[in-house]
Symmetry: C2
Subunit: 206 residues, 2 copies
């Protein structure tokens, strides 16, 4: 059975939602970022990166959101969370998720985790200052060119949707006005009505 | 036929090598980063992100290295560049590549592209100062926990190998001593002897 390690208010929510969407049997373990649990030996033994999510399966340990999302889609093909028999369409799904992890999430991370890339408090503050602009530019591109509607990939709900929803949750705190992102805002609203989304969020905040 | 857009000395090399490894028919177009060609309308019309690589296929346009690498592996299954019939093993491949794009490449990018996350020249300089430490920590983890040997995933050569090789090329300029990374250095040496690697590099530098 799957054991899923997450922390509240992190990108782990995307994988958590997908586990709910496919009806997977799994247990969860919450990692407390506030106390630095992700850096304690018992967790580093499972995930030496000290990050979430981590998914422990019968075959071994998986990390990295895009990899976990594709794994869930491939392991539960009946849920049709990705176009598994079409390499080009699958690559479009993966390209979207790769943009989220390598560009959008990274821009966001300069608000809370600037210490990864600088030590000087003044530089860290300057990084924080630019987050509304850098995250805003990412979401302007998503709004204009990437979110096909009603779901990210068009008519089909895929593993892109919980991931976009998860990162869009951070927009307000990142200082990006949702008013200019009509499609993203509508997407978030419809996502928040899905039973799988409600269940994953309730579990993380309980 | 595939048209592949790249710039020299970028992560596009990973996909370029894989196109050679599978014997794909493709043409190339070089984008001149020095003159800012990636920001010119003719290129933004193809890839609005203004980044490389971009792969134009008969079906449409693909971006993002991890997505392109998996697409090449799935489109040329005879080349066996990924464990396509094993979702868990495929997810391990994807997790490795996702770490490279979202953490390793991002750490490196703070040396040359700090303007993405800050405007103040002092902050940008401070980001550059930390690159040897942040990139070094990523590669220490790869050396210790991730590179199984002889190839990234063990006995099988996969799409992880050209990607690791590509990022390892930047270590010296990033200020990371290769001497402490014996497995990574040996991997790079063996990679550089492969005909596909030699051919892709020669084409990019010609």
């Amino acid at each position: 059975m799957i054991k899923f390690f997450y922390a509240a208010h992190t990108c782990a929510l995307a994988s958590h939602i997908c586990l709910e969407e496919v009806g997977a049997e799994y247990s969860t373990a919450r990692i407390d970022f506030a106390s630095g649990e992700q850096r304690q030996p018992h967790y580093l033994a499972i995930n030496p990166k000290g990050r979430v999510p981590t998914m422990v399966t019968d075959r071994g340990i998986l990390t990295e959101t895009p990899a976990i999302l594709a794994f869930i889609a491939q392991s539960f093909p009946a849920a049709r969370l990705a176009p598994l028999d079409d390499p080009f369409a699958f690559a479009q799904v993966q390209a979207f998720n790769s943009y989220l992890c390598s560009t959008v999430h990274v821009a966001h991370a300069h608000r809370m985790r600037g210490y990864r890339w600088a030590d000087d408090p003044v530089a860290i503050k300057e990084m924080q200052r630019k987050v509304p602009e850098s995250v805003g530019a990412c979401f302007d591109l998503i709004e204009r060119d990437m979110l096909k509607g009603p779901w990210v990939m068009g008519e089909a709900y895929t593993i892109c949707d919980p991931y976009l929803f998860t990162l869009a949750q951070w927009l307000e705190a990142d200082g990006v006005e949702l008013a200019r992102l009509a499609k993203v805002a509508d997407h978030s609203r419809r996502m928040s009505e899905r039973p799988a989304v409600r269940k994953a969020i309730a579990a993380e905040l309980s």
